[in-house]
């Protein structure tokens, strides 16, 4: 069984606010002093793939697919250490994550997937930088495959899958046949932590680097939305009244009395 997990490197989304500097000339965000990391949601997707690999009787090969102007081997090493078997990178100067929309991204990823054996393609629910949440459905559309989003668990039996799909009020069980695209929910949980040995061994795993011509594209597809500009939002600061007199219990009591007095409660 062949599983492809699409993963993106993003500036650490938990970085401080002033680390996301905007270059108005280029119209891009230039992160300052924060390292690129794997998008958290893509880590959920990889964890889901590894859980299938853990239990699949015939075993499964997990390929990580990533695209960009440059894809950092150092960032992707974490995915290989956690249990992915190989890395496929699609690199081109025109594949700048800050300039592509989901439409273009899905076309490029689908082009690469066509060149790889695939039974199951798993993506994260959204990228941690642009949060578009469109690429999984896009890949399925381009490749004409069934797609199930917000999957928090799945089991594979032969060519059939049972997927637990998250709903606002609970969950539903969906059946689909392979090959298919799955959009993993963040409810899948965190990516497993690799051991030192796994980290060392990961450096020996195969890395393939492709260009756009290798996947039959002449240039990055044109976007379907136009980005006009970027700006830094103002955090709406409030004047915080701190209760610091006496013991913590006094502070708690004073807080409760003040909320009542101010008619908050």
């Amino acid at each position: 069984m062949h599983i492809i997990v699409c993963m993106k490197q993003v500036p650490d989304p938990e970085g401080p606010r002033d680390a996301f500097e905007i270059n108005q000339t280029s119209g891009l965000v230039e992160p300052r002093g924060i390292p690129p990391v794997l998008s958290l949601f893509d880590e959920n997707a990889l964890e889901m793939a590894l859980r299938i690999k853990d239990v699949h009787p015939a075993g499964a090969k997990v390929s990580v697919l990533s695209m960009g102007k440059r894809v950092s081997n150092a960032v992707m090493l974490k995915a290989l250490a956690a249990g992915a078997d190989e890395l496929v990178k699609v690199e081109d100067d025109s594949l700048d994550a800050g300039r592509l929309d989901s439409f273009a991204t899905a076309q490029v990823l689908a082009g690469a997937i066509r060149k790889l054996p695939h039974d199951l393609i798993i993506v994260g629910r959204q990228a941690a930088d642009f949060n578009d949440g469109q690429v999984g459905i896009g890949i399925a559309h381009v490749l004409d495959l069934p797609v199930v989003t917000l999957a928090r668990a799945l089991t594979v039996q032969g060519c059939d899958m049972r997927i637990e799909r998250v709903l606002a009020s609970g969950h539903e069980v969906v059946c689909a046949s392979l090959p298919a695209v799955i959009v993993a929910s963040n409810e899948v949980g965190e990516l497993r932590y690799p051991s030192m040995i796994q980290r060392r061994e990961a450096k020996q795993k195969p890395v393939h680097t492709w260009g756009l011509n290798d996947i039959g594209l002449a240039a990055a597809p044109r976007p379907r939305v136009m980005r006009r500009h970027l700006y830094t939002p103002e955090l709406k600061l409030r004047q915080c009244r701190i209760f610091d007199g006496g013991s913590p219990a006094d502070a708690g009591r004073n807080l409760a009395l003040t909320l009542k007095q101010d008619r908050v409660i």
């Binding site: 996301f20 459905i137 708690g252």
Partner: protein, 330 residues
């Protein structure tokens, strides 16, 4: 023939009625329609109750309400909904189509966009006219940067972040021509089958509709710590929420998550306990009327956006608050 610039809003249904976010979606739709000098139409789809819901839309004063009723549309199924809504789009020929960025909207909008070869801007929080061009703004990089987009296709699809737009209020004279639409949906064409749906009703008050919320973060330290928060929530009649770490760590159910990928709330009172205030959490609660922060780190970001704060260990502070609340709230 529809007005030249037609704005279409898709109104989700929940438990046989219009989704509570419908008025917000209509509010955004009205704003876009006014900007483009166009008309506002709505579409409602469901099993048996869609017609009633469609008549309810008339109270907001729209030009048209398209309504689709079909047994396959009773509960959300991405493939059926996409096919049915594509049909309405062909009929209504909208310039802009909007829907809420709920779990349903997040699945339906991309399906529809790919099907119609349309551009899609998700999770928008504002819309504006820049000269003759309409723009939509969405937070990126977990809310640290805002990106302003303009449509490049007709139609262009938009999903709206909950609580970001002012709800439309009812008009004096209900208005809107009801247009029934039939969609040919057949089971054989669907490639995914829903075999069962399971309700997971949490105990206590639902986050989305709560007027008061008590939320815990990583600082709570362990699952048992939430018991103190539950006591306080009970005294207040509040719902229990959480930032991402307690959900990921399994201390509370995933559905308790408040933030960018969880519930986006704006209650009258939000008490954040042991929550430092990551941007993606703030995105989910910054619209709350009154914010109270309890945290042992005086430098925590949460104090910058809070109205009241206590610096201290929550295990010492919360029992005193709960005890006092029980005395003064009868």
């Amino acid at each position: 023939m529809p007005t030249e610039n037609q704005v279409l809003v898709f109104l989700e249904m929940e438990r046989g009625a219009l989704h509570p976010l419908a008025a917000e979606v209509l509010g955004a739709g009205k704003q876009v329609a006014q900007g483009l000098n166009g008309g506002l139409a709505a579409v409602v789809m469901g099993g048996g109750a869609a017609s009633d819901a469609a008549s309810n839309v008339r109270q907001f004063g729209v030009e048209r309400v398209y309504v689709l009723e079909h047994p396959f549309l009773e509960a959300y199924h991405g493939e059926y909904f996409c096919r049915a809504l594509s049909e309405v789009c062909r009929m209504a020929a909208p310039t802009i189509m909007l829907m809420a960025n709920t779990l349903v909207g997040g699945d339906l909008a991309p399906r529809l966009a790919w099907n119609l070869e349309a551009g899609l801007i998700t999770d928008c929080v504002a819309t504006e006219m820049a000269g003759a061009e309409i723009t939509f703004t969405k937070p990126i990089y977990s809310g640290n940067v805002m990106a302003v987009y303009a449509p490049a296709t007709t139609p262009t699809l938009i999903t709206l972040r909950p609580r970001a737009f002012t709800p439309l209020t009812a008009v004096e004279t209900p208005r809107g021509e009801i247009i029934p639409v039939s969609a040919a949906l057949d089971q054989a064409s669907a490639r995914t089958t829903v075999v069962e749906r399971i309700e997971e009703e949490g105990d206590g008050i639902k986050l989305g509709s709560a007027q008061r919320i008590v939320a815990g973060g990583r600082g709570i330290g362990r699952a048992e710590g939430f018991a103190l928060l539950k006591d306080m929530a009970e005294a207040l009649g509040a719902a229990i929420g959480a930032s991402r770490p307690p959900c990921d760590l399994g201390w509370v159910p995933a559905k308790a998550q408040v933030g960018q990928t969880g519930e986006i709330v704006a209650p009258g009172l939000y008490i954040a306990v042991g929550i430092s205030g990551s941007t993606q959490h703030l995105a989910g609660m910054v619209g709350s009327k009154t914010i109270v922060a309890i945290n042992k780190d005086p430098q925590a970001t949460i104090f910058k956006i809070a109205d009241y704060g206590v610096v201290g260990n929550y295990e010492d502070v919360i029992p005193a608050i709960t005890g006092t609340l029980r005395e003064i709230l009868v």
